[in-house]
Symmetry: C2
Subunit: 347 residues, 2 copies
C-alpha cells in the first residue's frame, strides 16, 4: 500500500500559530512531533507500507524535506488545485494496480492500531475496485464536516448511499439521531489506476490536464515537479465533489480511532484534553507559561510571554510573535475571518 | 492652598501595565498626560494654588522629577508608612496656618471645574478647623471603597456621622438605597497645624516619630528627605483610620466631578468609555492595534502586538512586554492576586 500524504492546507484556522508561511501540518501541536511527522509515522511500518509520497506546494517543499526522515518522494504542486488534482498527480506516479492510501497531513489520530485495522479493511475493498473513504462515528452535530450516509453492506464496510457536505445544524442533529451518517475523514484507499479511470469518466477535462502536467513534468532524485501550465487551467475541486459523489463504486469503512481534524483552537484544546489524563479539575490547559484564577476549560498557548487569565470559561488565548488571539471556544472557527489571518504577508 | 500630591501606591491593580517599578500614577492611561501629571495640572493655577508638594518613595522620585514641570517640592519617603505618616510629613513642611489640599496621584477627575468648586468649599471649612474629606455620590454598591455617612449640615458641607470601610455587598446596597452614604475619595483639606494637632491627640506615638524624622531630615534644593530610622518604627495607618475616624471635627463636602480611582481594568475601561463619545455601538475599545469579531464591551490594551478577539463580552485584554492578561471585567479586581502581579522582580 502506497501512502500519499497531502500537505495542501492553508494557514488560517489555527492562526496565529499556523500561518501561510508555516502552516498547521508542520507545527508540533500535539507532542514533540509535528502533525505531518505523525502522519508519516502512522504509515512507516515497511512490512505494511511502501515509502510515502508527499504532495505539497513549492512554498512548503523545504519544510517537507526537513521534517520527513527516511525515504520520501515529494510531488511539488506548482499551484494548488484542491484534492482531486493533487491525488490524481500522485496516482500517476504509482503503479496502476497498487493501492494508494490518501491521508491529510494535519489530522490527529489517537488510536493508531484502530487506524491500521480500518486501513486494511479499506485496502481489501480497494483491491476490488471500490473507492473507499474512512468513516468516523460522529460525536456531535458538527456542521463543518462532510457526512457519508451508510448504504448496503460490503465485506468490511458499506456502500456510500449519499454524500452531504456541511449540513445546517438542524440537519446535522437529524443525522446524529439517525445513526446512519458518519463523518468523512478525508482518508481514502483506492487502486491508483481505478481512481484515474473514474476521474477520467467524471472529470475528463481535469484528467487530461493532469496527464499533460505529468507528461511535461520534471524529475529530480527525490521529487517530481508536474508542469505548471496545464495544472493552472484546472478548476480546483475536492476528490469528493469530482469523483466520490459521482462514482457508483463509493464505499466506506468505519474507523473508531480517536480522530480529530484539529480544525480550530477549540478542537485542538479538546484533543489535548483527551490525551491528558493529568488535567486539573478546572480543565485549564497551558502550553508555555500561564496562570489561571477562577477559570474553567481555558487553553493558554504561548510561544514565550506569560498568559494570565481571570474569571473566564471556555476561552482560548494564543500568543505568537506579534499576534495575540483571544477567542471563545464556541466561536473559534471564526479565526479565519480575522484581518490578521486573512491578510498575512507573503512568506 | 497648598496641594499635597501622594504618590505612595503600589503597582498591582493595573498590572501588567502598572508595575512596582513604574506604577499607575506615572502612566498615560487617559490621554497623553500621566495621571500624576493630570493631578498636578488640576492644581496648577497660581491664583488659587501654591506650588505643590509631592510625597513619593525613593524608587519613584526620579519619575516625579521627570514628569513634573514647574515648581515642585518632593518629600522623599525613606519607607512607605501609609497615608497618615505621608500627610503628616508634608504638613510639617508647610506653614501651620496654611490649608493643605491632599490629593492622590492616580485618580481621574473628568470635571475639573466641579473639583475646584468642591475644593474651595472644603477650604472654607478647613479654615474653621474642620478636617474635610471630599465625598462622591455612589454610582453603585461598590465594596472596595470607604463610605462616609452624612451628618449634620455645615456651611458648604456636612459633619461626617460615621466611617465605614469596604462594606459587604448587602450593606453597600443598603447604603446606596439610603442616599445617606458617599464614597471617600481620599481627597482632604485641612489646616496643616490642625491636622498635626489632631494626629498628636489620637496617635501621639506616630506624631512624635514623624516629628523626629522631620527634625533629622535632609534638605536639598528641590527635595526634603525625612530621616529613615524614626519613620521605620511607625505602624502604617491610613489618615482615615488614624485621624478622621477619631476626630470630632470630621466634615465632608460633596463633589460631583466625574471621579474614578481607576482601581482596576474594568474601572479604566469605564472611564475611557465615558470620555469617548465616538465609541462604536458594540462598546469595544482599543489602545494599540486590535480587531474584534462578535464582541461587546471588550477593552484591548497593547504596547505593540495586535490583539484579536472573537465572541467575548465584558473582557479586558492587556499586552505589556512579556505579560498577557485576559480578565473578565467583573473580576478585574483580582489582578493583584495573580503570581505575575504578586512576585514582581525588584526594579
Amino acid at each position: 500500500m502506497h501512502p500519499v500524504i497531502l500537505c495542501g492546507g492553508g494557514g488560517t484556522r489555527l492562526w496565529p500559530v499556523s500561518r501561510n508561511s508555516f502552516p498547521k501540518p508542520f507545527l508540533p501541536l500535539l507532542g514533540d512531533r509535528t502533525l505531518f511527522q505523525q502522519s508519516i509515522d502512522r504509515v512507516s511500518d515497511p512490512n505494511r507500507f511502501a515509502a510515502p509520497t508527499v504532495v505539497a506546494g513549492e512554498a512548503h517543499s523545504s519544510l517537507v524535506a526537513s521534517q520527513a526522515s527516511g525515504d520520501v518522494r515529494i510531488v511539488i504542486e506548482p499551484c494548488a488545485r484542491n484534492t482531486a488534482a493533487a491525488i490524481a498527480l500522485a496516482a500517476h506516479t504509482l503503479p496502476p494496480d497498487d493501492i494508494m492510501l490518501v491521508c491529510p497531513s494535519d489530522h490527529h489520530i489517537s488510536n493508531v492500531d484502530a487506524f491500521h485495522s480500518s486501513v486494511f479493511a479499506a485496502s481489501r475493498l480497494a483491491s476490488q475496485d471500490w473507492l473507499v473513504s474512512l468513516a468516523i462515528e460522529p460525536t456531535g452535530p458538527a456542521t463543518g464536516y462532510g457526512y457519508l450516509q451508510t448504504g448496503d453492506p460490503l465485506t468490511g464496510g458499506h456502500r456510500i448511499a449519499k454524500f452531504v457536505e456541511k449540513p445546517d445544524l438542524e440537519t446535522a442533529k437529524q443525522f446524529l439521531a439517525s445513526g446512519q451518517f458518519k463523518w468523512n475523514a478525508g482518508i481514502f484507499a483506492f487502486r491508483a489506476g481505478f481512481l484515474l479511470k473514474e476521474l477520467n469518466r467524471h472529470r475528463p477535462e481535469m484528467a487530461a490536464l493532469v496527464e499533460k502536467s505529468i507528461d511535461n513534468g520534471q524529475n529530480t532524485e527525490t521529487s517530481f515537479r508536474p508542469a505548471a501550465a496545464p495544472l493552472e487551467k484546472i478548476t480546483g475541486e475536492s476528490i469528493d465533489y469530482a469523483v466520490m459523489e459521482n462514482t457508483s463504486r463509493a464505499a466506506m469503512v468505519g474507523a473508531d480511532m480517536g480522530w480529530s481534524d484539529i480544525g480550530d483552537w477549540d478542537s485542538l484544546a479538546k484533543t489535548i484534553c483527551d490525551a491528558n489524563d493529568g488535567l486539573g479539575k478546572e480543565g485549564n490547559l497551558a502550553r508555555g507559561p500561564a496562570d489561571f484564577l477562577e477559570c474553567n476549560d481555558v487553553l493558554a498557548f504561548s510561544d514565550g510571554p506569560r498568559i494570565s487569565v481571570i474569571g473566564l470559561d471556555n476561552v482560548c488565548v494564543v500568543v505568537n510573535g506579534d499576534e495575540v488571539l483571544v477567542t471563545s471556544r464556541d466561536k473559534a472557527q471564526m479565526v479565519g475571518k480575522l484581518p490578521g489571518a486573512l491578510f498575512q504577508g507573503e512568506a
